[in-house]
Amino acid sequence: MNHTAPLGLPVVHLVDDEAVVREALGWLLRTRRLLSEPHASGEAFEAWLAAHAAVLEGAPSCLLLDMRMPGGMSGLQLFERLIERRLLDVLPVIFLSGHGDVATAVAAIQRGAFDFVEKPFSDNALVDRIERALAASRVALERRRERAALRERLAELTEREREVMQLVVDGRPNKLIADALAISVRTVEVHRARVFEKMGVKSAVELANVLREA
């Protein structure tokens, strides 16, 4: 996968059993120049997710989820699935609730939902929240990409280089590292230079920071 490719256009997923609401919201988002993807039910969204898993990695997205959808998977059930799949950071969930089930919504927020909006909503305010959610999704995607890159670089290191790197991050001088690994100081210096080059850092401190993020 190409982690360096630029992120795609943000997509807003709408999950509501009411076609009217889906259409109206989609139309509204268009007036704010946002792409939207309507889904008629929780099951429909899951199916789409199974088919287009990679899309979520490629562009920031968020999910507007109706809390109560008679007949079929409820909003909360879908939310549980997303938690299981650790998708909440790249796919922030905004709950739509129509019947004052505020307590349920608060519980959902505590479990990681991004926000919840009561129907009937003030639409532009909703769109503002959607944009904040998309921004959060973008940040999360970028961090995911950085971590993936780091993991790739670490994978390129040899066994010896990894040992040397560990001791360098621990803060040992080259001489002590040479003693510990029973190799010459010169060899340590060679390994160290190669680790720095592979990890794309210039100092031991920078290396430690990069590793901590990973």
């Binding site: 009217v20 509204l28 268009r30 007036t31 704010r32 129509g98 129907k119 003030s122 532009n124």
Partner: protein, 702 residues
């Protein structure tokens, strides 16, 4: 004494039995009375007999003793007299030895006459009875002054002749020597033959006064207390002596035998017959002592029995008291004037006043002031007509007031209190405190109401939820389209695609608005469907249906219900259930409006009148009225002044009434000065034509 004399306890319950125990006796059967009286009669009779016997015996004893004493006196007197005669005879015989000279004899005889006062005269006679010489007692005059000696010589001669014959002293019969002035002396002669050398030469006759003999012979003591007399065989007294007259009660006679004659000496004691009073007193004292002893004995027995009866009574009393005290039912007794004569502890606890505060009161402090006149009227009615039988059985409910002013409902069973004499002395009431029962009823009613309210609320809530969901969708869509349109218009781009989008949005808005309208219409349809439930209902039935619930509430708050209903009751064409609900709502509001008023001012008026094709129903309270700012919003849905209210009551009421074609309004009632007296709610319903649906009564009449 009377063990059966306690048919009823003499507690305060039965004042009659306490103050008039004598009233018990008329109820006793005659046999019992006899049984009770007979011992006393026997006792009195016995006492009388004993008393009399004792008295008689005492008299007898005294009489016998006195008689005996008199006999003794008589015996001793007779002996003394006999001895005196013997002495006199001896002394006379001694004169005979003076021989030969008569002169010497005369001197001795004179001396003898001086010594012996009973000797009156000594005669010496020759053999031929001629008196030779005679000497008279110096103490008296001549003996034969009235009559000559010869006139009275018969007895002497006979005695002297006998003496000469027998050659021994012989006493003559006594004879009377009359003296001057009709007096006289009874005397007796004794003849002594004078012997001389073996031959008799004469006799000496001495005359003795019989009375003096006794005087001399008998001691002064005897003479002082007795009358002594010689009597003849026929009782004729010959001579008497003694200082007093005999009483003639104790008389004894003794014979004094003398040679030639026998005299009877009668002793008559001066002692009178036994005296009545001292003897009576003695016997009375004795008898009464006996009676006293008997009575004391009886009393002791009685005291023991009474003590036993009292112990039983005390035990019984304690048992009754324990029973009374353990009762939770209040007991109250009143006399015919309505004065409280008794209350038990349970009653005191119930009303919170002590027995001292209650007993004797005609207007008890537990009567709520606002009910007083009604209770007094009730009491007067009860006095006049007694307690109806069904009320005795089922009791009647009323309201009492505790010491703290709290009103509470009670159930009273009242029965006439019949005294021991069989007369009614008052009323006995058992009083049950119903407040606990009422609380339970109230609680269950509240629960029922809450349940109903909850059920209604659930229905309303569900409907509201459904409605909000149904309406939310189109509204949300409309809002989205509108916002989006504004977004587009704000962009100032009037190009073709934007216009197309705007057109689409507007079209969608119209669609969604129509959808929302359909939802609303369906609700209206639902409401309208109820109109089909119209029927002809008598307004009395409507009122009767809500009255039980209403009374329950009214009783709790102490509200009086004033119901005025046209007779015959007007009939309305309406949805019965809905109108009942309206009536209930209005009356409940009215009662609640009077919560702040004093209990006596809590009156709920319900008036139903039919006129001009409409039935008019007024529900008026005496509350504080409705403030203008409240009045303005009174029928607004979801407006309420009650913390637990939903605010649907009055608005629904108005809707219901208006659906019937009637009107619901209200006004504050004011007096002439413009002060608010209360609030009146009035609603109208179409009156059913009489011919449309005749009632059963009319059918029967036709």
């Amino acid at each position: 004494m009377r063990e059966t004399a306690y048919p009823m306890l003499p507690t305060a319950l039965d004042t009659d039995a306490m103050v008039e125990p004598a009233a018990l006796s008329p109820a006793e059967p005659p046999a019992a009375r006899w049984r009770r009286v007979l011992p006393w009669a026997l006792l009195v009779l016995l006492l009388g007999v004993a008393q009399t016997l004792l008295f008689v015996l005492t008299l007898q004893y005294e009489r016998d003793r006195e008689q005996e004493r008199t006999e003794l006196t008589a015996a001793s007197a007779a002996a003394d007299v006999r001895q005196r005669f013997a002495h006199d005879l001896q002394s006379l015989q001694a004169l005979l030895w003076n021989e030969p000279g008569v002169d010497a004899g005369r001197a001795d005889a004179a001396e003898l006459l001086r010594a012996r006062r009973e000797l009156l005269r000594i005669e010496w006679r020759d053999a031929g009875q001629r008196i030779e010489q005679a000497l008279e007692s110096p103490y008296r005059g001549p003996l034969y002054d009235l009559l000559p000696r010869e006139a009275l010589d018969g007895d002497t001669e006979a005695a002297c002749a006998a003496a000469l014959r027998q050659t021994g002293p012989v006493w003559s019969r006594s004879y009377f020597v009359p003296k001057l002035g009709g007096l006289g002396i009874e005397v007796i002669d004794v003849c002594l033959p004078i012997g001389r050398g073996g031959s008799l030469r004469g006799v000496m006759a001495a005359t003795l006064a019989l009375g003096a003999v006794i005087d001399e012979a008998v001691g002064a003591d005897t003479a002082r207390t007795h009358e002594l007399s010689f009597v003849e065989g026929d009782g004729t007294r010959l001579a008497r002596a003694g200082m007093s007259r005999g009483a003639g009660v104790y008389v004894a006679e003794r014979l004094v035998d003398l040679p030639g004659v026998t005299l009877a000496l009668r002793v008559d004691s001066a002692e009178r017959g036994p005296r009545f009073i001292p003897n009576l007193a003695t016997s009375l004292v004795l008898g009464l002592s006996l009676a006293l002893a008997a009575v004391v004995a009886l009393l002791a027995v009685d005291v023991r029995r009474r003590a036993a009866a009292e112990a039983r009574l005390a035990e019984e009393l304690a048992l009754r008291r324990a029973m009374e005290d353990s009762l939770v039912t209040g007991l109250r007794a009143r006399d015919l004037a309505g004065r409280i004569t008794y209350v038990n502890p349970a009653f005191c606890t119930m009303v919170g006043f002590s027995a001292e505060q209650l007993i004797g009161r005609t207007v008890p402090p537990y009567w709520p002031p606002e009910m007083r006149s009604a209770y007094e009227a009730r009491h007067a009615q009860r006095l006049a007509r007694g307690v109806p039988a069904h009320e005795q059985r089922e009791g009647h409910e009323t309201v009492f007031m505790r010491a703290g002013g709290e009103r509470f409902p009670v159930l009273i069973f009242e029965a006439p209190l019949i005294g021991a004499a069989g007369r009614q002395t008052g009323w006995m009431s058992a009083v049950l405190d119903l407040s606990a029962q009422r609380r339970v009823e109230e609680l269950s009613r509240l629960q029922q109401e809450q349940l109903q309210a909850t059920a209604r609320l659930a229905t309303v809530g569900e409907m509201a939820s459904l409605l909000s969901h149904e309406l939310n969708q189109p509204l949300a869509a409309i809002a989205s389209y509108a916002t989006g349109s504004l977004n587009l218009i704000g962009g100032d781009r009037a190009d073709a695609p934007t216009l197309a989008m705007l057109r689409e949005a507007t079209q969608r808005i119209a669609e969604q608005a129509a959808r929302a309208g359909r939802v609303i219409k369906s609700v209206q349809d639902f409401v309208r469907r109820r109109e089909r439930h119209r029927e002809v209902v008598g307004c009395d039935e409507l009122v009767d249906a809500v009255l039980p619930l209403l009374r329950l509430q009214a009783r709790k708050s102490g509200t009086r219900i004033d119901l005025r209903l046209d007779d015959p009751a007007p009939r309305a064409l309406c949805d019965r259930t809905m109108v009942e609900q309206v009536l209930l709502n209005l009356t409940r509001n009215a009662i609640q409006a009077m919560d702040g008023q004093p209990p006596e001012a809590r009156v709920l008026e319900i008036a139903v009148r039919g006129s001009g094709g409409w039935v008019r129903v007024d529900v008026a309270d005496r509350g504080p009225g409705i403030a203008p700012e409240v009045a303005a919003r009174l029928f607004t849905p979801f407006f309420t002044t009650k913390p637990e209210g939903m605010g649907l009551g009055l608005s629904l009421c108005r809707t219901v009434i208006e659906q019937h074609g009637g009107a619901l309004d209200f006004e504050n009632l004011r007096d002439a000065a413009g002060r608010v007296l209360g609030t009146r709610f009035r609603f109208t319903l179409p009156e059913a034509a009489a011919s449309a649906a005749p009632t059963v009564a009319e059918e029967a009449a036709a």
